[in-house]
């Protein structure tokens, strides 16, 4: 499956949806800092992986997918929810990358400069996520082909 950019999707998002994400993102970043100040870095660190904007992002995915189907005269509710579910499945893979990022920061912080740690940790997140996503896609693709083959030869 090819990875591509769909820039027209930018036009579908309203200005207040961008503002909402900015506000949520800023608020959770401030909250993470305040929690760390109050209860220490042990508890504060948990909130560095808090799914802050996930509910609003998934709702937007559902809304856009539903609108797409409605333009063709269909209801689109089920398709919208499935699309949001796929988004969540992707986030599950991304969270494994998040574990890799946290491990990289934890282990490399005493050894390297902060900027180098940030770069290495971001690469760890990106590579882990993309590799697992790709492996899952190829495995599912193979399973799908085998299934289709079995059905065709029945």
């Amino acid at each position: 499956m090819k990875i591509s950019l769909n820039l027209s999707a930018l036009g579908k998002t309203k200005w207040y949806e961008y503002a909402l994400r900015f506000t949520f993102g800023g608020a959770i970043t401030v909250a993470a800092g305040l929690i760390a100040n109050k209860w220490g870095p042990g508890v504060g660190g948990l909130f560095l992986a808090f799914p802050a904007i996930f509910p609003s992002s998934a709702t937007l995915v559902e809304k856009h997918e539903k609108q797409k189907k409605q333009q063709h005269g269909l209801d689109g509710t089920i398709r919208g929810r499935e699309a949001a579910g796929l988004d969540a499945a992707g986030a599950a893979i991304g969270s494994i990358g998040l574990v890799a990022l946290a491990v990289a920061v934890w282990r490399l912080m005493p050894l390297l400069s902060t900027w180098l740690v940030i770069i290495c940790a971001t690469l760890a997140w990106l590579m882990t996520s993309v590799v697992i996503w790709h492996l899952r896609k190829t495995r599912c693709g193979l399973r799908g082909r085998r299934k289709r083959h079995r059905i065709e030869n029945r």
Partner: protein
């Protein structure tokens, strides 16, 4: 107050950047990777090191491992509820935050406290 304002602006900008990237990328499951982008961590890491030092940031990162495992459990539950049971997205994603809370604090209490 100034520090909180900087955190708000940096956090909002980094989160928005990853969210926009998630909007334009296809297919959906790949764009979903950015749903678990390290936005807050990247936004705060350098600020934390500047203010509290490397040891503090290291402790935060160790706890973040647990938070990320909780995120994994959260997103798997959300995905299953949406795809298999077809429940409303906002209700599922918002109420499942309780799953993240339980997993994160439970694991932290068991492993790191």
């Amino acid at each position: 107050m100034k520090e909180l304002f900087i955190r708000f602006v940096v956090g909002g900008t980094v989160v928005s950047f990853f969210a926009v990237l998630g909007d334009v990328l296809k297919p959906k499951s790949f764009a979903g990777l950015l749903g678990a982008a390290p936005s807050v961590a990247l936004a705060t890491l350098s600020l934390t090191v500047l203010k509290d030092g490397k040891a503090y940031a290291q402790t935060e990162a160790r706890s973040m491992i647990v938070g990320a495992i909780a995120f994994f459990i959260y997103s798997l539950c959300v995905s299953r509820l949406l795809v298999r049971h077809n429940l409303p997205t906002l209700a599922v994603t918002a109420s499942s935050i309780l799953i993240w809370m339980a997993a994160a604090f439970g694991l932290w209490y068991a492993a790191l406290r």
